[in-house]
């Protein structure tokens, strides 16, 4: 990982991939069912793609792992060998993957209403198909969508976004190149209360700089929420319409001027 000769942010204010400082990469969401999973989602942020399948709530495989008052959540993350430029197989016991999985689990444990399903188990399987930075962000957003798609009750969406600081300029939704070069953080936000469930940063950054990017990323997460919500609504609308039972209006937006649209 020799430091690149490409400028992270050039004089004209453009980043290496032609984005502006605060510009997010394009988001693509596919909510089509996958095999026998109860809910699935494929989400792409730029060139990072993660496929998420959710099973459950279902009977726990190991009785010793059941909890008498709520459902257990298990998360497994796999990485396709072809997902990075350098072909590399990661073993299941890779500490980074285990950490990613336990981060996702800890993020969703207080958000999923597990108390509704005592003794059950909810399995979340993630598979990383393409990696170009902001992996945790993509994993969390994909998991939110797959859980909603599976009809598992959540307190709210969880929307994640990454951010970094180049010299003194904050950047959003980093790609791999930027991630290697600048201090970066990932945060996850619950849009209704605008509260933070996750924030993680692993590079040196001054407290003041941190606050700036932190607040900016929180606003970006709300933008991502709009995208995710629109995808869920379109999917729900199509399904409801094809069931023909309720005459729902087939449009992605709602008309009651919801307070989340304020920005």
């Amino acid at each position: 990982m020799a430091s690149s000769r490409i400028e992270v942010l050039n004089q004209g204010g453009y980043r290496s991939d032609g984005r502006k400082q605060h510009e997010l990469r394009s988001i693509a969401i596919d909510l089509a069912p996958q095999g026998v999973a109860d809910g699935a989602a494929t989400i792409t942020h730029g060139l990072t793609t993660v496929l998420v399948s959710v099973f459950g709530p279902r009977e726990a495989k190991l009785r010793s792992q059941t909890l008498h008052d709520r459902a257990t959540i298990s998360v497994e993350v796999g990485v396709a060998a072809f997902s990075t430029g350098e072909r590399r197989k990661r073993s299941k016991g890779d500490k980074r993957l285990l950490e990613l999985a336990s981060t996702i689990k800890a993020t969703f444990e207080p958000v999923i209403q597990t108390a509704l399903y005592p003794r059950s188990q909810i399995d979340i399987y993630l598979h990383v198909l393409e990696q170009d930075g902001s992996l945790l962000q993509t994993c969390i957003n994909g998991t939110t969508l797959a859980l909603i798609n599976a009809g598992i009750p959540l307190l709210d969406f969880v929307c994640a976004v990454s951010g970094g600081v180049h010299v003194a300029s904050p950047l959003l939704d980093l790609n791999q190149l930027e991630e290697n070069d600048v201090p970066h953080l990932t945060l996850a936000l619950m849009p209704k209360t605008k509260k933070i469930t996750l924030v993680t940063m692993e590079t040196r950054l001054h407290v003041e700089r941190f606050e700036e990017i932190f607040r900016l990323a929180a606003r970006a997460a709300e933008v991502i929420h709009q995208e995710m919500r629109a995808a869920i609504r379109i999917k729900a609308n199509t399904l409801v319409a094809s069931m023909g039972s309720t005459r729902a209006t087939v449009d992605g937006t709602d008309r009651d001027g919801n307070h989340m649209d304020e920005d």
Partner: protein, 284 residues
């Protein structure tokens, strides 16, 4: 939001985290929770209102059992005096030994020897049709097969659909004119099998233990076999297009397929499937 507009409330879609109404005026039902005096949706789906109760029905979810539901299930485990049954719900259902009819008449008492030969009645991976009898304190459902309509399944195949597509019908036992019986489990498991004539269905007197717990298929003719696969494929196609399955739709779909002279395998082609769905949409 205007709450008096019942039409709007009843047909509105919502997403997790969206406020629906005030918790003072309404009671929260399934798919919602209350936070700071607001009823908030926890699943993506349609808002439904019955009097003061607001619920959100998830578009796609696992089966939520209710007492009296007819379900098709698969035995996963044999335990002391009970079987565990996978019924597509959040936990495996329980079928107690005392909740099944044993060979030798309905009134027969349970013997200790029955506990030892439970695998003679049902063993792992057997399919059965049963009714939801009650719930345990932890929410697991208890099933019973104490009716001659219920019991082990054979002579056919299983097809799985999203549970929401199986509507509550007057009868979940359908017979199609092509000699195919259908059992629409409310849990989304559907059993498609060879038709059994009414008089062959064991009556009170002729309770045939051998037949009830038999693991052997009857002889099934070529025509019936292809009819079964055709029906199975129809169900899969309708389900993949998220069409609710009712007796009317299934009958209509089968007729359409026969009219168009499609074989079971033709239905797997995407255009045929789409044509079928379009035809069915036009009717309803």
């Amino acid at each position: 939001m205007d709450l008096d507009d019942d039409e709007a409330l009843n047909s509105k879609l919502t997403c997790p985290g969206e406020a629906i109404t005030s918790s003072h005026a309404y009671m929260r039902g399934h798919g919602t929770y209350v936070d700071s005096d607001e009823v908030i949706a926890s699943v993506a789906g349609t808002i439904e209102r019955v009097n003061k109760l607001v619920t959100v029905r998830a578009v796609h979810t696992r089966y939520n059992p209710e007492v009296g539901d007819l379900v098709v299930g698969r035995i996963t485990e044999v335990q002391p005096r009970r079987w565990k049954v996978d019924a597509n719900s959040r936990q495996d259902a329980v079928l107690m030994l005392s909740s099944v009819n044993l060979p030798g008449g309905v009134q027969r008492r349970k013997l200790e020897s029955d506990e030892l030969q439970m695998r003679n009645f049902f063993e792992e991976s057997d399919l059965l049709v049963a009714e939801v009898q009650a719930f345990f304190s932890d929410g697991a459902m208890s099933l019973h097969t104490r009716s001659l309509k219920y019991g082990k399944l054979r002579n056919g195949q299983l097809v799985t659909v999203p549970p929401i597509l199986v509507r509550r019908l007057k009868s979940h036992f359908l017979t199609l004119p092509c000699g195919v019986d259908l059992i629409l489990g409310l849990n989304g498991y559907i059993w498609v099998s060879k038709h059994v004539k009414e008089n062959e269905q064991e009556g009170e007197e002729g309770f045939d233990a051998e037949a009830v717990y038999s693991n052997q298929n009857d002889y099934i003719e070529e025509a019936t076999r292809s009819a079964i696969s055709r029906v199975t494929n129809i169900i899969s196609i309708l389900a993949s297009h998220f069409m609710p399955l009712t007796d009317v739709v299934l009958l209509g779909a089968y007729e359409w397929v026969v009219d168009q002279d499609y074989q079971a395998k033709d239905l797997l082609q995407e255009d045929v499937g789409d044509a079928l769905v379009t035809a069915m949409r036009g009717r309803t």
